[in-house]
Each structure stands twice: as structure tokens, then as C-alpha cells.
Amino acid sequence: MKARILDRADVLKIVDLLRQQGYEVMAPFCGRGRDTYFDVVTEQNRDQVQTHFANPYYPPKRYVLPHIEPMLKVTRANGNVRIEPIYEEPKRAIFGIRSCDVAGIYHLDLFYLGGSFRDTYYDKRRKNLFLVNMVCTDPDRDVGDECFCVCADTGPAARDRFDLQLMDLGDEFMAVAGTPAGESLLADPVFRRGTEAHVEKRRAILDEVRKRFKTSTSWFSATVRYVSHGEVLEKTWEEIGNRCIECGGCTYVCPACTCFTVSDRQTGPDEVERVRIWDSCALGGFTRMAGGHNPRKAVHDRRNRRFFRKLAHYFIQRELSMACVGCGRCVDVCHGNIGMPSVVEMIRRATAEFENHEHVSR
């Protein structure tokens, strides 16, 4: 992959370049305290764009799958019904998307564009989306307490699926092109050729930052095996379920969760709009049918569902990607401490203990 070097002071010129090319650029900004968020870059706020920041809780997946997305407009006139699709095809760039979220969007690509049907709405939003990945290099500001991308193998530096990747080397930034579109940006005079020393520096920084992750292991492989083989005890699922307060937070902040519901809303006397809205398998009504029958009545059945969907080998193979990218958001928002790493750990401990015991007593 082609790499170039640019001065630290010039890094926001990439934002300018993209804006000149007609992109609406979304970039990270800091609010009060830990609060960070992606917003549209304007003339006024351009200088406040951050390069080191705590990853926003609201995942950038909303740029391909908005939390409320209009799908159709239905109008009635003189006994006729007209159904028109509502499409949005913005030319948009996300500046500063974290490596875990790049993996999240790639997972959504495989899910929404693969399978038996291609999702038109996703396709249209995704087609012109340009991703400028920012590598997490600052252990204090970039790496959160709950980040575990090193276990999920998605970070701290994404290996691919971005258009352009930026990495802070101190006085300079390194820019790596991941697609032809990203490479074409490197023609700008702001970039210059790097040296072997730059590559060496990159390696040294990444080696160091990898050691600074606090959640260093989450035992994925053992847990994936136990979940896939159906070896997890019902008791363990119940323990996990008992901690769930069914707020749905984990699914809303997850960059790889895909579920949605569809709802009609009246927009005029003879006009209805159909929208899709993020939905959560944690919520009781998720599987409840019109007659009232709910095949997933117990809380732990629903918790089981979310982790089964993310950890079962079958689904990992179905999408050739895992629906957990190690961003740690679910850990941050969960009131019951059943974010992905602790669930993986609970399953691994309980199942291994049981299996060992069975083995001995036999």
C-alpha cells in the first residue's frame, strides 16, 4: 500500500481537500468531559476537528444505517396509491474513523450487501462513503479503558477496508492509501515521500501502544467453540441474563449490530412515510407476534440471542466476519457489566470448569 508523509500542521488539509472534492466531511469533535461526537465540518468549526479523542459512543455506522431512515413515501389521491422510494446518496467522508469502526462498517457491508438480497438503501449510502481511518496511537486519549481491538484483531491500526489511513508519528503524520480513491489524494503537494525511518517509527509506536491496552484478552476462541458446540450451560446464560436490565444500550452503540424495525408514520392527510428504526434483540417485544405469543420470553433467552449471534461459528462463517469488532462501547454503556469481554470470560470460565469436572468424574 502506498504511503506518504505530511507535516503535523497540515493534517486537517486532508479535510479541506475532501471538502473541495465535494464531500460532506464528518469529523470528531470534543464536547464537555469525555463527550466526543462526529459532526459535519464547516468553515466555522474546521479548526476544532480532533485527531486524538475518545471514540464517540454513537458509532459512525449511522452514516450507512441511520437510526431512523425514511424508506418510502406513500401518497393517496383520487383513489390512486403512489409508492415512491426515498433515497439518499450523499457524497460523504468520515475523517478520523477508528480502526474498530472501519471493521464495523466492513461487517455491515458483508451483511447488508451480501446474502440473498442486496439492501438498496445501505448500498446507496455506502457507495460514495470515503473513510479516513485514524490510528489509535495515544494510549491516554485514543485507547479507552474497555477497548479490546487487539483481541478482536481489528486495531489499533486497521490493515485494510479504509480509503486513507492516518497515523501520528509525532511531528509528522503517515498517510496510507487503501483504495485508488485514497491514493489519488496522495498526489497533493502536501504529501511527501517517506523514508525507512518513518516505517520503523510506525512499527515502534504500534508495538508500544499495543502494550498499553487494559483489556488485553477476552478468550474469544474458547468461547466461540463452546457457543458453537452448544456447550454453554443454561445456568451460565441465566446468570448473564440476570444482569441484563433490558435497556438495549449495547445494541444501539454497537458498530456491528444490524437489526431494525419498520414503522409507518403519517406525514400529511394523504401521505404516509415508512421508516426503519434501529431495533434491539434485548427488548422484550423483539420477537413478540401479533397474537401475543413470544418464543423468547425469558430475559436470558434474549441475552443468549445477542451473544449467540455474535459468537457462533456459523454466523462468523456466514458473513466471513465477526459481529464484534472490539470497540468496547457495550462495556462502557452496560449497567450490568455484561459487555462482550466479561460475557466471553463468564462463558469460558463456567464452561471450562464444568467440562473439566465432568472429565474427572467420569
Partner: protein, 295 residues
């Protein structure tokens, strides 16, 4: 300009329709409504666009459609018609807001339909075999399509037996069809009701009680059993069939789930490793057992 990683994903041949918007329903017109039983009516309809109608009619028995009632929502429903029949219709029980809105509609009213979706029953794979249909209550709705299809292709199948159960004689559905099947030489049709109304001369008892009646010889050898009905009925009938010697893979059923998209995206119908909408709704009992959730 191609900018993203999307282009790199090779999906050639994977997508059924890569260009069409699968969420876009097409306008349909209600032709007539026939009441079946309490809260259940049959709605005869057709697409406004004749070409859509032609394309839709190539569905397989056991597939389903998504019905849109604007301003209320969308719901999945079985296709009780057989592709060999001329008319398209739904038989729907009034249970929630969408079905209530459909029940209020009058001939000439417009709604919208998209589909057909799902795998359907592999009726061609069953050529040469005997077919046993066991339905309880409105479980007959999805099986009606298979029965009509099988009778239309009568020479392709060996024995055909139909066992139907209803709560009362008044709760028997598709009565003109039942009379026809009862009188047809090529098919054995047995009816049972849970409670007699005093006039009913037929069998009284659960549908499974028909299996043990004198003169009834349920086909087991090289036979496929279609089972559809309420969960309690399903459990007991499966037990009976397994006792009779049916293999789990030769018992087929169709599952219903809350669905929003019908095309494997919204996630609501996912049980175990299967999306009911694209991997089903038709599953063998062998598969259903492995899914690990209530029927």
C-alpha cells in the same frame, strides 16, 4: 468514481436481485372478501400492474408475502393459493393492528404486497412419494397451497392423505375445498373436531385421534408428513408420527415469526442459526429440533 471497499466485495450470483429495491411493495387491489371462520377471512386480490401479477404467480407452495397497510404497517402472511390456481389470495386471522386494518378493507380498496419470499416446500423433490397432511385450525392455510398443488399433479405422487382438526364444526375452513377433497377418489380426507355441535356426525377428538381410527391406515413408507397447527397440536402430532415410524427428516412444517423485512436483514425472525424468512419458513422436524427455540 469508485471510492469504497464495497466494489471489492464479490457478490456475483449471490444476490437474487441486485438492482431492485426489495423493500418496495407494489400496489394491489382487493377483489372480494370471503368469511371463513370467526375472525378469519379470505381476501382475493391482484396487483394493479398485470406484469407484477404474472411475475408473482410463479411462487412455490409454502412461500409467504409481506402485506402493507399504509399508515399501519406490514405483516408476513402465508400464500394459501397454489401457483396452479388463477387467483391470488390470503387467508388472515384478525390478531393485531395490521390484520385488523386488512379485515376492515372493502372490495376495490388498495393496499400493497411484496414477495414471494422464503424457501417453500420442495414439492418436486417429493415426486413418487406419498404425502400425509396434518393440519390443526388455521394451520391449514399454508398447507392448502401444497394440497391443491399435489392434487393438480396427482399422477406425480403415491398416496395422499389429509387429516384436519378444528375446535368445532363451525371452525372448519375452506369448506368447499374440504367437500371436494372428501369426495375426490385420489385422496383420503379425514376430519375431526374437538367439540361436536350435536349435528356433527364425524370424528370428535384431537386431530391425532384420527390416526387410530378403524379403517385408517396412515402411510409411513416413503412418505412425507406436512404438519401445521398450534404449538400443542404440533407437539402431539410429531410424537404420534415418530411413534408410527416417521423419520424426523420426513416431517416438514412451516414456522411463523415476527418479521419486518422478509429478506434476511431485520433480524427479528432469527432462531438459532436460521433466518426463518430466507432459510425457511419451511423446515424439516430434524432442523426445527436443532434450532432450539419454541415453535
Amino acid at each position: 468514481m469508485s471510492t469504497s471497499a464495497v466494489e471489492k466485495i464479490d457478490l456475483t450470483g449471490a444476490n437474487i436481485s441486485a438492482t431492485e429495491n426489495a423493500y418496495l411493495p407494489k400496489v394491489a387491489i382487493l377483489d372480494r372478501v370471503v368469511p371463513e371462520i370467526t375472525d378469519v377471512k379470505t381476501f382475493y386480490w391482484r396487483f394493479e400492474d398485470a406484469a407484477e401479477q404474472q411475475a408473482f404467480r410463479r411462487f412455490r407452495p409454502g412461500q409467504f408475502a409481506q402485506v402493507s397497510l399504509f399508515g399501519v404497517g406490514e405483516f408476513p402472511t402465508s400464500l394459501p393459493a397454489s401457483p396452479t390456481e388463477d387467483e391470488t389470495f390470503f387467508t388472515v386471522r384478525r390478531v393485531g393492528s395490521c390484520t385488523a386494518a386488512l379485515h376492515k378493507m372493502k372490495p376495490g380498496d388498495k393496499f400493497a404486497v411484496r414477495g414471494p419470499y422464503g424457501n417453500g416446500f420442495p414439492m418436486e423433490d417429493y415426486y413418487g412419494k406419498s404425502l400425509v397432511f396434518v393440519a390443526g385450525g388455521i394451520g391449514l392455510i399454508p398447507l392448502r397451497s401444497c394440497i391443491v398443488y399435489a392434487l393438480k399433479h396427482r399422477d406425480k405422487y403415491n398416496h395422499i392423505q389429509i387429516f384436519l382438526g378444528a375446535k368445532t364444526p363451525q371452525e372448519l375452513m375452506y369448506v368447499p375445498n374440504l367437500r371436494e377433497w372428501e369426495q375426490s377418489a385420489g385422496v383420503e380426507c379425514y376430519l375431526s373436531v374437538d367439540r361436536s355441535d350435536g349435528v356433527w356426525a364425524g370424528n370428535v377428538g384431537v386431530v391425532g385421534s384420527l390416526f387410530k381410527k378403524p379403517g385408517v391406515q396412515v402411510q409411513v413408507e416413503d412418505t412425507v408428513a406436512f404438519v401445521c397447527g398450534p404449538p400443542v397440536m404440533f407437539r402431539f402430532v410429531i410424537k404420534d408420527l415418530l411413534t408410527m415410524g416417521f423419520q424426523e427428516r420426513n416431517i416438514v412444517s412451516t414456522l411463523e415469526r415476527y418479521m419486518k423485512c422478509g429478506i434476511g436483514k431485520c433480524g427479528h425472525c432469527c432462531i438459532g442459526v436460521a433466518y426463518v424468512c430466507v432459510d425457511g419458513p419451511v423446515f424439516t422436524y430434524e432442523q426445527i429440533k436443532k434450532l432450539g427455540e419454541d415453535i
